[in-house]
Symmetry: C2
Amino acid sequence: MSFESMPYKDKKVISIGIVRELTGLSLRQIRYYEERKLIFPDRNEKGTRRFSFSDIEKLIEIANKREEGVQTQEIRKEMKKETKPIEKKMLKEMLRGQFNAHFKNNKLM
Amino acid sequence: MSFESMPYKDKKVISIGIVRELTGLSLRQIRYYEERKLIFPDRNEKGTRRFSFSDIEKLIEIANKREEGVQTQEIRKEMKKETKPIEKKMLKEMLRGQFNAHFKNNKLM
DNA sequence: CGTGTAAGGAATTCTGACACG
DNA sequence: CGTGTAAGGAATTCTGACACG
């Protein structure tokens, strides 16, 4: 199942009210950080936001930075650097997936 | 943080609507399986249910058993057997925690 | 810039009950 | 036994806007 293969940490299943409880941030703050492209919750069909545990961890980091007086713009820049290696890893895995699919189709199936 | 120390899998943070999406079960079915003591979602202050990924996995198992015609009573019995070892493990860890706390308080603090 | 708040509407969730079987 | 459904109420979430600064 695709459900099993994805780590729970990145599944977008948490509503904004719970995120508020878990982070201590206000709804306004959470929505604003999305507006500033610091987090990227999914939306369900009717438009309500769905967050992952990763989003929550990110929000906790953001809250800490904000307490230090760092502006959202700066935080976004810092986060870009940090997520780059992850993107590279993802890309690598995607390529491997493509390769495997290709191999399967031509040699085994 | 206590947040970090607990695996995401067991955090009760998912609302019943998402559980329905993820399991394909109806709200009625999910609530009924709780009534029959097959799952144990938390409740927030206002009484709305909060499920964990573990609950969702359990529900998928339950759905499979039900398709085979197994009654909820039977499913509960089967699940009791399966969760016993986990309870033992938890108990062991709790005891170790108590021991460590005791040791710390008397010898180190 | 970052956050609070009141506003109105839409969608969610809850419980207890009746239905069928 | 297991599930559907209509009912009424309460709580959630959404957006765009005004406020302050």
